[in-house]
Symmetry: C2
Subunit: 221 residues, 2 copies
């Protein structure tokens, strides 16, 4: 998760420049990294037979590279042919914004959209590295705790790498933006935050009795 | 949110039939409705200049119709021309699944994928109805509490309607599926649930003092 000191600001191609609500755009890479590091899944878009397809899939970031897992999503990318264009979108919903007028109801959110052509990772060393990045994103601490993949398992894994070259970030925060002229007695306006939280770990039914829940699971943040 | 008694089961076109992990498929409409009714945002995929684009956007369901809001996502659909194909994907992440082996780490989730050509809602009555469905999905209770849109506001709203004709639902639940041969002393396996919860409502800074937080916000589930 090192940050190359030379990383350029986010690109401003036409499709990554906001047409509406430009004040919600963020152009620093730190904002992009924050969204990617907090979310657990992305939505991977590709074109199949001329039609759009959007699949949820796991991912992980290492510096300016996004690794995508060999799930059905990544396999669809490969099936779409050599070096297809994809769009990866990651969204964090933070709150519902209640306004005095229904027209001004909104959401607080952080979203990132990345365009590019993912590369199939073929080098065994990079494949193991990519899998480790993916695992540590999904389940931090698991790489050291569980059995690591053997050569046969590694060979069967599909990992794609997508550079974070062309990306946009959009953020809405704060209270509703409605007109003071709309203030009316008794009509409430404000923000209702939505939070994600880990529940209590549920051991596998076939786990040996008295196996303690390890700290990387029990105290996950 | 009426359920037409004649609604057929989910379609089984090639693109809505799972190629892998078929045991995760659900083919009843109730499963589709449950995913759509619980999630607050969808990811809308479309093809723009031959490339995929995926945008997060609000939505609401009424029976077998999905309404999409006149956000940047819906405007992109309209910009893509007359009756473009879209893919709407909705994902609920329920848990991270920890296995004894990294290869078997997974997620518990419920996801729905809907394909079709959305229709621009032009009838004023249906547009108001669609906006009400969207509002009550985002902020139940707000339609009666806040000021409803006037004729001018209604005329400026874009609402798209997408029939739930071609859709698939995929669900993973339960403990890890790893091999008993992998059981090892001290290695934990199980499920860590991820839950969403509403926080405490934050009144708008310009709200008149002593305005009570209404029940539809304070006690939202």
């Amino acid at each position: 998760m090192t940050e190359p000191p030379t990383a350029p600001p986010l690109s401003s191609t036409p499709r990554t420049s906001l047409g509406r609500k430009k004040d919600r755009a963020r152009v620093d890479r730190a904002a992009l990294h924050e969204v990617l590091d907090e979310a657990l899944i992305c939505h991977l878009g590709l074109v199949v037979d001329g039609c759009p397809r959007v699949l949820p899939t796991g991912f992980g970031r290492d510096g300016e590279v996004l690794y995508l897992h060999g799930s059905s999503g990544a396999r669809s990318v490969l099936a779409a042919g050599e070096g297809p264009q994809v769009c990866v979108t990651v969204t964090l919903l933070d709150a519902v914004v209640y306004s005095r007028t229904l027209n001004d109801h909104s959401m607080n959110y952080r979203s990132a959209v990345i365009y590019g052509r993912p590369r199939l990772v073929t080098d065994p060393g990079e494949r193991e590295h990519g899998l480790r990045v993916l695992t540590e994103h999904l389940a931090p601490g698991s790489w050291e705790h569980a059995r690591q993949p053997n050569a046969k398992e590694l060979a069967s894994v599909t990992v794609l790498a997508l550079p974070l070259d062309e990306a946009s970030v959009k953020v809405r925060t704060g209270p509703p933006g409605d007109d003071p002229a709309e203030h009316a007695p008794g009509v409430w306006a404000g923000v209702l935050p939505l939070r994600s939280a880990w529940g209590t770990a549920v051991p596998s039914p076939d786990l040996a009795p008295n196996t303690p829940t390890p700290p990387h699971v029990a105290h996950r943040r």
